[in-house]
Amino acid sequence: MKCQLCHRKAELERGYCQYHSKAYSSLVSGYPKWKRTYEDLAWEEYLRRVIALPETGIWVKEVAEAEVKGMIE
């Protein structure tokens, strides 16, 4: 099975490849730090803010966009 975001082979969890899985893990581990800064920050709002930042890594942006899209659908 291919990664839902690139041509690489997907790992079993969440359908991401090794690199996008790593980006997803970074997103998950960054969330508590953002929550400490902005109390009551919802996961979706966190993703939207991260997507808007120029400092965010490209794979993180791709994963965050896919996650937001998944939530909307």
Partner: protein
Amino acid sequence: MLAALDRLQDYTLVVCEKPDAARRVAEALKEDKLATVNIGNVEVFLVKNAGNQYVVCSAVGHLYTVEDPARKRHVYPIFDVDWFPTSIVNSKANHLQKRIDVLTRLAQKAKIFINSCDFDLEGETIGYNVLKYACGGKEAAALRAKFSTLTSDELRHAFTDLRRDWGRNLAEAGRTRHVIDFIWGVNLSRGLSEAFFVANRKYRMVTVGRVQGPALSYIIDREVEIRSFVPIPFWNITAVLDIDRKRIEASYAKDRIETAKEADRVRAECEGKNGTVRELRTSLFRQSPPVPFNIGDLQKEAYRVFGFSPSQTLAIAERLYLDALISYPRTSSQKLPPSIDYRKILNGLKRMGNYKQFTEEILHGRLTPHQGSKEDSAHPAIYPTGETPVKQLDSRQLKLFDLIVRRFFAVFAEEAVRERISVFIAIGKHDFKIFGRRTLQLGWLRYYGIFSGMEDVTLPTLEEGANVKVIAVNVIQKFEQHPPRYNQSSLLEKMEQEGVGTKTTRAEIISTLYERGYITGESIAATDLGFSVIEAMKLCSPNIVSTQMTRDVEAQLERIETGDMTGEEVLEDTISLLIESLYKVKLNEMDIGSNIRQALISTVRLQNLLGPCPVCKTGKLTVIRSRRTGKRFVGCTNYGKGCRASAPLPQRGKLRTTNKLCGTCGWPIVYIRLTRIPWRLCVNLNCPTKSVKKREVPALP
């Protein structure tokens, strides 16, 4: 003159590495006049010294190279390799055959042979191969001249102390390195290329090398970190102060504030209050002089100061060495032994007007250099020879020469003494700080200050307890930055730290990674192609991307140099590792091939992207090749949605994208390389800058 050469016999044949070095050796040996014979553009020097007739000739780098005798690109593994003339292996190097013929002809009537190539792994390999193959097996009988500069004095001294045993192990290590690198490179590259062929029924050369692997993997690891980076927000607080009618920004004592709430609270508590100088602290610190340059340090410094790439620096340094202006640059030593005669060098430099005052000062002091810890048994650190340039140096040579000379001065100078001033200002119950720095005693900075990048930060005069007016307190939200990408200098440093490559090959490896399309940009980013090669290697041959294997091979080569191991033993180890890797490549051919194809497509797509489309604002301008005419032009990715933005492109020359936009029309800028100097071009045919130029052309009467 050719007849004179034909009449000679029983002479001493001196083999040098490069033509310029041969001329220097001949000039140094001559007692009377120097006769030059030109045989088919190969210069041969005839010279007499102490009653002996010398004939001096040179190679031009490697005249022999390792090759697979079968040369079938689909066949692997291959381990039976041999040395062949470079002129046969590489069609672009067939001019080298003339040189081999001349050396063979000269060897026929020679009685004594002297290897006078540079004394290092490569020089020894070049000399050994010429003596073995071109001179008909004279490698064992030949004498060795050992020197670190091409100055006449040192060369003459080297020829009074010739030895037969010098460099024998060095040659074996050098030749083994070439064979190992060839069999790793050729087998894995053929494995990957074949995988691409099997998966796509098209041939495409995909290369990887023994040292390229770890170097590329450092960049990939960093790229993974950058692409999976999540920035964490934090806040900085600064206070703008009015001190003696000068605006000075003081930073809050705590460098980083985690929450907006806390930052706002600090601001609220400071606003409307004036500050008081709570404490003034000064501290002296001494900065030791720098250590002499080895090649790695020189490459890093030249990149930092002038922006020269490591390979450019090496090429310029070699030119300066061949002009006898500096010592042999391919050294890892940071030491300057007294035998190089500091006083003589300084007296030589004194003849150059701009260094006169500096040399006089240094000659009056203690002539003890500040040295580093790294050593090199073959050559000392890089130093100026004290010879005056006989021809005009170009601007880059001049810059590098000045850097080396000033560094040489600096290592003999005293420490620099500097003062750090810290001022703590209390605003309400919060502390803010400002820092100043000044130089009290220049020491080595007198000679090297212009390159040191150290500047004084002066503060107005302040006293403890003084009141300071606060103009504003600012809260700034910031985000953590991802780790920086490598540049050529920091990558070189990383390779040096990890023991990957040698002092002579590192710069070349970085250039190869660019040429192969595995990396891109000044701030180095890995391409998708680079990713796919490393992924394939991690799957099939994790050794080749591991620093450990490279280190082990380097250690084994060093053991050959010291005589503790033979080349054959090292080769056996390499082959057994390689067989295992190639087997895995064969097993995963389909996967590897299709991954590389995908990566190639996205790499080419990315390379062709020029920038945002100024017409539709949502698409991107890209280089497109017409299927009908084969010509290239600029088009918008939104063509299918109706955007008709397009522009013609020059059909000749290599095109390089820049990610920059024209300041006038907002269309992308590209570079077209037809000649040595690239042509900067705004792709918009109707760019106003172009019409201005047209109007400026005066009308014909």
